[in-house]
Amino acid sequence: MTVGNGRLALLFHAAFIAFILAPLIVVGLVAFTPEAYLSIPTTRWSLRWFVAIWNSDFIPAFWISLYVGCASATIALLVSVPAAIATARHQFPGRDALVAYFLSPLMVPHVVLGVALLRFMAEVGLTANIFGLIMGHVIVIMPFTLRLALAALTGMNRHCEWAAWSLGAPLSVVFRRVTLPMIMPGLAGGWLLAFIQSFDELTMTVFVASPGTTTLPVRMFQYITDNIDPMVASISTALMLLAVVMMAAMERVYGLERLLAGKGDN
């Protein structure tokens, strides 16, 4: 049974996709310009702006972003799993309030978080410290790891744990040998989403970042306030390529839909 799209609907979908892709395409084209200003290359193509990345301070900023992303996603995941087990498997007073509290960073504007964290870190002496930045990111991205861990846990067949328990496995072994492998796709998906959130985070990080802890988005933001050249376009294009390669790899290994829908394997 197929219901064809009407002409208007097709037009709408085409326009929708065009609006999403157009800016990316323009950025992608500008990245290959040989000129020193923002322009879409017409006669000649050049990689000079890609070469320029290598000698810029964007590379250290990239490594900081990568480090902060990996560290904060991992910490968020490690905190989320016990929290998810407690809230998904046990009934206790204040359970719903606790889940709402863990998920609340989704509701709080990042600007507000940024200002608050800046004050707080000045207070406890964590400014200009990468540990403080990572902690700030953990707060912002934890809703993602928690949501996917919760979905994986509630989606898995509880009888599998019971079966293992009754087959002679103590609860710690049940968790390691049965629960963890079964919720692993959900946890991996949560980690990935959290990493992307962290890597992308600008609004809050701008407040907290200092010269030693400048992440890539912050560096790019600073750069375009002072310069107008195709450097930012070439970095964006490089990041897009990186994302595409990673997505393709993940799709091959795991299946992205399964990963990001947080479905357990059962």
Partner: protein, 345 residues
């Protein structure tokens, strides 16, 4: 002393009692079925035996040993769930071997016993497959092999056939019954399917609202259900409200409208419920007069609905290839004296 002994088992969830005073004694090697509609407490009883549910009151003893302080992983019980609950990330052999691994059985011995268990359920060739590569029936066999390979003291089956299709379910009933006999393991089957319980079990315990309403051998329970609930749940029956007009030697004289009938059983008081199994009724030259309202063909049988002075009666007659009574035909419904039973409301 019975092998499994349950005394005064109660499980309350808040103010609701899911199990409300169950006493049960199961002999070694016996196959007992807990039968009842959903919410009758049969599954909760099973989960309490396995140790997943902590009883609010009462005791469970296996081979004389009190189970309350024993964790599920120390009870040596094999369990098969309706969902089969196979570990999706392990192969068939790894699934079956899991319990042996937990018991620190050596790898060589393990391989030997896994092969033996898989042969028992006729799955020897699929040891390397993953559960999702198997059909429902095959998954069920793996679950059974996994539960049996640890040589448990007790085998618990929680609605094990409910997710199989009808044909396969019938095959598996017989097969599980055969395997249970062969390894002579004490087994408890929880089911809502009366045909399954009657066919497989040595004894059937019919549960209603957290209690055992009737327990006995399948034939006995079917023939002498005791209560209207059990007679209606086990097979089908015609239930007729009647007035007691006389008693003599274990039999009651009942009156329904203008008609008087004799029935086996006893009640206190002046009213009684009469149970007549449809397959025990037949058409004859005397008996209660009636008119055939409908006549349905069921392959092996004919199902009649007959309007009579004592109410509408369902009558099941075997299809013997001859002519059937047409709709609108007049008949006389008769039954052997012992087929009329008095049951509690």
């Amino acid at each position: 002393m019975p092998f499994l002994e349950i005394q005064g088992l109660v499980k309350r969830y808040g103010s609701v009692a899911a199990v409300d005073g169950v006493d049960l004694a199961v002999e070694r090697g016996e196959f007992l079925s807990l039968l009842g509609p959903s919410g009758c407490g049969k599954s909760t009883t099973l989960l309490a035996i396995a140790g997943f549910v902590e009883p609010s009151a009462g005791s469970i003893r296996i081979d004389g040993r009190e189970m309350a302080p024993v964790k599920p992983n120390r009870r040596n019980i094999g369990i098969v769930f309706q969902s089969f609950a196979l570990f999706p990330h392990m192969t068939v052999a790894e699934n079956v071997g899991f319990g042996l691994e937990m018991r620190r059985v050596s790898a060589a011995e393990r391989g030997h016993r896994i092969a033996e268990a898989l042969a028992l359920v006729r799955l020897d060739e699929l040891a390397g497959r993953y559960p999702k590569q198997l059909s429902g029936g095959q998954q069920q066999r793996v679950a059974l092999a996994r539960a049996l390979v640890i040589r448990p003291d007790l085998l618990l089956l929680d609605e094990p056939m409910s997710s199989l299709d009808a044909k396969l379910r019938e095959e598996m009933r017989v097969e599980i019954r055969d395997i249970q006999r062969r390894v002579a393991i004490t087994t408890i089957l929880v089911t809502h399917d009366q045909a399954e319980a009657l066919l497989m079990a040595d004894r059937v315990a019919v549960m209603d609202r957290g209690r055992i309403a009737r327990i006995g051998r399948p034939y006995e329970v079917y023939e002498d259900p005791g209560s209207a609930f059990v007679s209606n749940f086990l097979g089908r029956t015609n239930l007729i409200a009647a007035t007691v007009v006389g008693r003599s030697g274990g039999r009651l004289r009942l009156r329904v409208g203008e008609v008087e009938v004799d029935a086996t059983g006893d009640v206190n008081g002046s009213t009684a419920m009469l149970s007549l199994r449809p397959e025990r009724l037949s058409f004859g030259s005397d008996g209660v007069p009636g008119k055939v309202e409908s006549c349905l063909f069921m392959g092996g049988q004919w199902l009649y609905r007959v309007a009579t002075p004592i109410g509408e009666l369902a009558v099941i007659r075997p299809n013997e290839g001859g002519a059937h009574v047409p709709e609108g035909g007049t008949v006389r419904v008769t039954w052997p004296p012992e087929a009329a039973r008095v049951v509690h409301e």
